[in-house]
Symmetry: C2
């Protein structure tokens, strides 16, 4: 009995060891393929340098749909197809101008209109400024102090936080809701400090939303560079009555037909179980969007390229989905989910890369305890590749609404320190991407999908 | 008895918990101080942008000695002093020129003389080229195939390796010993592929050594950019008889008096036990040397600045040592060790930062099993700061020779993926440094020194 037990134990351990060893070997092949034989960097070169910015509804966005579809068609999918989706079409118009008007001195500062904002009048807008550091402070000031003024939101991202994304979300209410709230108190415009941890001259774009404010109460909203914000704040301390001038000619045009791009390979064992990996095709309009989210797009495509190079056929159905309109509407993610529900699909896993193309550190998971425990057991396989951080957290906004009974969602977590130096700004360009870091991210995503494919979820 | 045991256990756990909690709190203060109140980035701005390159014997090196000494004097050390050290004085002279001479076509390629190399003749050197991929291949070819030719070493760094430093050392023999070995077979010069993982146009400098070769057998040695190496190799495949031309006017001048800069604060409890933290002041001459090793210099200084800001007085003596001449001689490190031995000093700990100013990932340790185990127990304190990698490995070349009975040595390990994009090349500049990443490195070093100071070594 004892002997049989020991033999059984040896057998079980043997099988586990064999599996572990097989996975170790496959991880090696995945990383090697990505570091020596990947296409993601040259795809990104094309997206960034040949196509450029890709705001929803733009020519760039349409070209990106066509280009990635044509590239996906070379990767050995069973089918590559488009999903129609209507998207907002906001355009910036002429480059914005702004200055601090202090007595007779006009000091030009860099601004950009926030996505979704209305224009100023043709001659621009000039008014006194009231500086606040939170929506609560605005409320305390009330109509008396705010009416007729430009509200200047100047709460910096908290530097004293390793998790820069957390600092971003916590400072982000000023950008997202600042105009809507200020309008309630009679403000004539808003200027928000760019969501950037360092001091520089780049204004950072991003979405804002008037919510249920009546249209005739909309006010123009812009972001100012962090250096500009520091200057404006200092100038206001010297002269609280100075004025700020800005002019922007952005507008929202009628919605436009656009597309998610989908590549699909049927699972050899469980074709009804679907794994999704993706990023978003659209970007803000000020730069190439190489980090946000060109990187995520080409890394997701590279997952399939690596499987192709290694001749790996997934047991479960794998879809690479390049979502449209993450930045100013989320229509692509919603459409994917809507169609999936219509078709009664069963997603077991969704992985998004939308946190930059920096060196990968791990994943955040939306998973129940059982699945998180199961996945944590894979961590030792990742450690030789300096992947160490498996946490509970958000997957990503394109896969946010995706529901299935026990779906596991994950977001790639690259090193977060430099992301907000570039996020939504004119310097989010190809030269800010390191080839190896991008490739290591793609390999890390592929390795996780391989483990989910091999072992399923509970 | 049982009850007493339980009480004792509670007491021990209570003490441990208290200590852990105290350390957690102090870690928080360290990182917060570095991210919100540090001087390292502005020190580096000065070193890089006001002083610039700092090759041993240069004006830049001397200015760096003076500047860092003056800054160290503001940090609350008991004393700041210089250690005299004679250093080599190699100068590049005029900018090098080189071209591939293929029939009647001359294609210019970017090269730079390797440190310690002799010049070509005034009119330059032109010869046929023999491409090799290792010193062993050179030996196999022998004098017949090599005599009268330029040896072109073209083995790339292995991209299929997460540890880029390992790839660097393994490809580095071509640069370090290539000229010495080629001269033995009658070569007239050597060109080595730059030690850079990516394809670009920067030639990367670095030391080479003629060893015990008689002086009259020295041959000129240069590095070529990776793109240049690819082109030369491709051209040689088409025309093995093409010629390569290069001209360089570098020379070695007489040794120069220079200095290590040392700041010292006596330990409050164990003044006879010394902890050292440092980086090297000198850099190659093609750029500011912001990563190599301006970052390590200012991070080491920041350790003391953080202690000062937090009013922390170390129990053991702490020295911040800025070493001279790491790049082409190691004379500063050797001098420090020589003086230390003369004075019968006892070092318990030495920490070096000389792997770039990138986001920190951990440390490599030279420590016996007992001490490594002791230090590994600190790891959980570091994890909230995304510090996860404690390995056995080298501390650093400036602290290499330092001996004491049970000294622990450590090297800061930043993320290694981008280091060799910049290493020894003209793009190793201030704008390649991220402020937060630099500060996180300084905080991580400070936290380790704090733990060693609190708990000693065995």
């Amino acid at each position: 009995m004892k002997r049989n037990f020991l033999l059984a134990l040896l057998f079980v351990n043997g099988v586990t060891l064999f599996a572990q060893n097989k996975d170790e070997q496959f991880f090696k092949q995945i990383y090697s393929s990505s570091l020596t034989n990947s296409k993601c960097y040259s795809w990104l070169d094309h997206l960034s340098n040949k196509i450029g910015s890709r705001l929803s509804g733009s020519n760039g966005a349409q070209k990106a749909v066509e280009y990635t579809k044509s590239q996906m068609e070379t990767l050995g999918f069973d089918k590559v197809y488009l999903q129609e989706v209507m998207v907002p079409h906001w355009v910036r118009g002429e480059k914005e101008t702004a200055y601090i008007h202090d007595n007779k001195t006009k000091t030009v500062v860099p601004i950009c209109a926030l996505g979704g904002s209305i224009a100023t009048s043709k001659n621009g807008l000039e008014a006194e400024v009231i500086e606040v550091h939170s929506l609560a402070e605005l409320k305390d000031l009330g109509t008396d102090k705010v009416k007729g003024k430009i509200v200047f939101y100047n709460r910096p991202m908290n530097p004293d936080n390793i998790d820069t994304f957390d600092s971003y979300f916590k400072a982000g209410d000023q950008r997202r809701s600042g105009a809507k709230e200020a309008a309630k108190y009679g403000a004539v415009g808003t200027i928000v400090r760019s969501l950037n941890l360092r001091l520089d001259d780049f204004p950072h774009a991003g979405g804002q939303n008037y919510g249920d404010l009546p249209k005739d109460q909309y006010i123009p909203a812009a972001a100012i560079s962090t250096n500009g914000a520091e200057l404006l704040s200092k100038s206001l301390k010297k002269n609280p009555n100075l004025k700020f001038y800005f002019k922007q000619s952005c507008q929202t045009l009628p919605d436009v037909l656009s597309y998610n791009v989908v590549g699909e390979i049927k699972g050899t064992e469980h074709p009804e179980k679907i794994m999704v990996v993706g990023g978003h095709l659209d970007s803000w309009d000020l730069a190439d969007g190489s980090h946000d989210d060109g990187a995520g797009v080409v890394q997701s495509m590279e997952v399939m390229n690596i499987f192709k190079n290694l001749n790996y056929k997934p047991k479960n159905t794998l879809r690479v989905v390049l979502f449209m309109n993450e930045e100013n509407g989320g229509k692509g993610g919603a459409k994917y989910e809507e169609l999936s529900k219509q078709n009664g699909e069963n997603h077991i896993f969704a992985l998004e890369s939308d946190s930059g193309g920096f060196t990968p550190r791990g994943f955040s998971f939306e998973a129940n305890d059982v699945n998180f425990k199961k996945i944590q057991a894979y961590k030792n396989l990742f450690e030789p590749y300096l992947i160490h951080s498996f946490t509970i957290g958000e997957g990503g906004s394109d896969i946010e609404h995706l529901t299935s009974k026990t779906i596991v969602k994950a977001g790639l977590k690259p090193d977060p320190q430099r992301y907000f130096d570039y996020h939504h700004a004119a310097n989010d360009k190809f030269d800010a991407i390191d080839k190896r870091e991008l490739e290591l991210g793609a390999a890390t995503m592929t390795a996780l999908i391989y483990m989910i494919d091999q072992n399923g979820i509970e």
